[in-house]
């Protein structure tokens, strides 16, 4: 801007300078001409008066370096010339000024020289004796004058341009200075040209608006940051080239990344082939989802693109830890399969027997056995369904009222009830220990002891022993059920508390049982915030210790 102002000032100055030079010189030249003609006339009349008085002798001691005098007779013959020999000169009668003077008494004319560099003014007057006296002066023309004045003009132009340059430079800077010194952070506080006021007001308004918006954005990004930081799920944002824009704490853990991950290619964090394919698919506009193991846990990755105006602007990667869910899913599938199998087997047996009876294929003496069979299977079904109902009650966490229960009483009750079956299997069942009172649900606690003792008897050898022991220790109650039975192989020990899990895969009916007993025990113990410990050796026996 200051350059433009500077250029304009220089241009104006140049135009003014040249115009004034031209006008002034043409006025001066005109004035100069007029005054010269006047002077010429005065000189002529002065000399004419003298010549009238003293004749041509006057010229003898006349010094005329400036003017040229010529005396011409009435016939046109040159009588005298102050700068040339009169005798060599031609007849002057034809000359304009002389002819005019002879006629009117006075004459004048001006003529250019042949080179045009000089202009000569002539003035003539008729003397009393009839002769004509002429005076003339030569003068340089405008062109020659200008050429002659060129050095002076150039000097003037040079000096004035330097002055103009300096002045206009300073002026331009002075004009622009307030603009340069505008405080754009606080537009309303400036005192400057009033022409700028509307712009500054607008600027002020926009400034405020922008500050507000930036603040809002920052607040939003802070909120986003806080939400993502406290998220358990991993969240990674990528731009459309796959560069990481943001990564939250959970995702950093998952991809073992740190702060430097932002700005790097996501491939440097995770180069799994499935992941690259999923990201590519998401860039193509399709949601991608896959499960993969990372650091020993199972994760579900959901990859989606983010859009703005229908264009892909980036990728969002969400990572869920689904280890527990996957485990539960597997368990549920297994449970469903098991339940169906367990329910179907007795039913098949019942249907088979019933069909035989229906078709009269059973001998009368066998009828009783078949009906007994049907009854046994039906009983098994009922006990199975009862077990499932109990389990689902425990699952649902229905909270029956708790009461003070003496475990010793409960155990005693169990021992009395199971004595019959123990005797049948020729197993000795003993109860040791002391009265242990705890807060709990009597029915559940009964189930725990019943199921443990039932198993201990069921999977025992003939002549084996089952011992229930109860004691108080450091404020907690320790219940242990040990047997001298067949024991549980080590590889099965971690799974026996699962529903329907059986060490003996054939699910043989030989020993009976539904496969749900230990599962019920586990649930009931967990319900009472207890812990179970299993200690078993094949062929030697098993001890289950529960601590409340």
């Amino acid at each position: 801007m200051s350059k433009k102002i500077f250029r304009s000032i220089i241009a104006v100055a140049t135009v003014v300078l040249l115009a004034s030079l031209f006008i002034a010189s043409s006025f001066l030249y005109d004035f100069f001409n007029k005054s010269q003609v006047t002077q010429l006339k005065e000189e002529l009349s002065l000399v004419a008066a003298n010549v009238d008085k003293s004749g041509t002798e006057y010229f003898d001691n006349f010094d005329s370096s400036v003017f040229r005098f010529t005396l011409v007779s009435a016939e046109g013959t040159v009588l005298y010339d102050s700068q040339a020999n009169a005798r060599d000169m031609e007849n002057h009668l034809e000359r304009e000024e002389i002819a005019e003077a002879l006629k009117k008494g006075k004459g004048s004319s001006a003529r250019y020289s042949s080179t045009l560099t000089e202009r000569t003014f002539y003035e003539a007057i008729r003397l009393k004796n009839g002769d004509v006296l002429r005076i003339s002066v030569s003068q340089v023309t405008v062109g020659a004058l200008i050429i002659g004045m060129l050095p002076a003009i150039s000097a003037i132009i040079l000096i004035s341009s330097v002055v103009a340059f300096l002045l206009s430079h300073k002026m331009a800077n002075d004009i622009v200075k307030p603009l340069n010194e505008l405080d754009l952070e606080n537009p309303s506080k400036n005192e400057t040209y009033e022409e700028l006021a509307p712009i500054l007001t607008k600027l002020n308004k926009q400034h405020k608006q922008i500050t507000k918006q930036v603040q809002e954005l920052r607040q939003k990004s802070d909120e986003f940051e806080q939400i993502t930081a406290s998220m358990n799920e991993g969240l990674v944002l990528l731009d459309k080239k796959g560069i990481v824009l943001s990564i939250n704490a959970a995702a950093k853990m998952l991809f073992s990344a740190d702060e430097t991950a932002v700005g790097r290619d996501f491939l440097t964090l995770d180069r799994s082939i499935d992941m690259s394919h999923a990201v590519e698919k998401a860039l193509g506009g399709k949601r991608a989802e896959f499960r993969e193991e990372r650091n020993g846990r199972e994760y579900q990755f959901v990859i989606n693109r983010t859009e703005s105006d229908g264009k892909t602007v980036g990728i969002v990667i969400l990572c869920f830890d689904v280890t527990e869910t996957a485990f539960a899913e597997r368990n549920r599938k297994e449970f469903t399969a098991n339940v169906s199998h367990e329910l179907k087997t007795p039913l098949q047996s019942i249907i088979g027997s019933a069909e035989l009876l229906e078709n009269g294929l059973v001998k009368p003496e066998d009828t009783k056995r078949f009906v007994g069979n049907i009854k046994n299977e039906a009983t098994r079904l009922v006990s199975l369904i009862n077990d499932i109902i109990r389990l689902s009650q425990l699952d649902e966490d229905l909270e029956p009222a708790t009461e003070a229960v003496d475990l010793y009483d409960v155990a005693n009750e169990v021992v009395e009830e199971l004595n019959v079956s123990a005797t049948k299997k020729q197993v000795e069942l003993h109860l040791h220990g002391e009265s242990c009172i705890m807060n709990g649900i009597r029915r559940y606690l009964y189930e725990i002891i019943y199921n443990l003792c039932d198993n201990a008897i069921r999977y025992n050898k003939e002549g084996g022993k089952v011992t229930v022991d109860l004691k108080n220790k450091n404020g907690s109650i320790i219940l242990s059920v040990s047997d001298t039975g067949i024991g549980i192989p080590a590889e099965h020990q971690s799974r026996i508390f699962e529903r329907f899990y059986r060490v003996d895969k054939s699910h043989s009916k030989e020993t009976g049982g539904t496969g749900l007993g230990l599962s019920i025990v586990k649930h009931a113990v967990v319900y009472h915030r207890g812990t179970i410990k299993l200690d078993s050796k094949i062929g030697k026996g098993t001890t289950v210790t529960i601590e409340f």
């Binding site: 796959g242 290619d265 491939l267 440097t268 180069r271 799994s272 690259s276």
Partner: protein, 214 residues
């Protein structure tokens, strides 16, 4: 001009990481096929080997294009020439994983469980390849050096495998063919370890400009 160059370099980097991931996956797959005696997995290895070959050619083309069109100098030149060398090693890893998978199809579902060290070798080589690719991705000299050290574990395990297999044949000569197959597999794992070391050396070269072999 430079930005286009940078773009091409980052594309090269991406492709290299992608090829590294394929290598990791292919040896993990062939090791899994061995441990599970799974012939179906062994077949998958072959397909993946094909992908690796294609990626090698693709990366080669990118490198040559960069060299011809951009005439890189100093570090850029090192990175590109190291990439050219590394893809050869990666391609060899892919080939050897394929070879392992091919032998597995002859084992008739046997899993080499007589020879515990072969499993150890598989795990160790997978770790070496993963580490060498990680070293490339993060330009991590320390990790690259750890790959060199890890090679000793593989070499020691290979010696032990030989001893075990000699015993296996001595016990029963009928085991001869099986033992030789296992020996081949062990040798391939050992070679894969060497290639991982090569990759780590080229990573070191591309960072420092000094190659260990010098």
């Amino acid at each position: 001009m430079r930005s286009r160059f940078d773009e091409q370099l980052s594309l090269l980097n991406k492709k290299m990481i992608g090829m590294g991931a394929e290598c990791e996956s292919i040896i993990a797959l062939s090791a899994k096929a061995l441990l599970e005696g799974n012939v179906a997995n062994a077949r998958k290895v072959k397909e993946q080997g094909h992908t690796i070959d294609q990626m090698e050619r693709e990366i080669e083309a990118i490198c040559l294009k960069l060299l011809l069109q951009q005439q890189p100098v100093a570090k850029d030149l090192r990175v590109i020439s190291a990439a050219l060398k590394m893809i050869t090693d990666m391609e060899r890893i892919g080939d050897q994983a394929e070879d392992i998978a091919e032998i597995i199809t002859f084992l008739n579902g046997k899993t080499g469980e007589e020879c515990h060290d072969i499993r150890l070798m598989a795990e160790a080589t997978i770790k070496m390849v993963t580490d060498s690719i990680d070293a490339y991705v993060n330009q991590d000299l320390k990790l690259a050096k750890s790959v060199f050290d890890h090679d000793d574990i593989v070499d020691d395990a290979f010696d032990r495998v030989k001893q075990t297999l000699i015993k296996l044949i001595a016990e029963n000569t009928a085991n001869g063919e099986y033992a030789l197959d296992l020996l081949m597999i062990a040798k391939y794992f050992e070679r894969i370890g060497d290639h991982a070391v090569n990759i780590a050396e080229w990573v070191e070269f591309s960072v420092t400009g000094i190659h260990k072999g010098e």
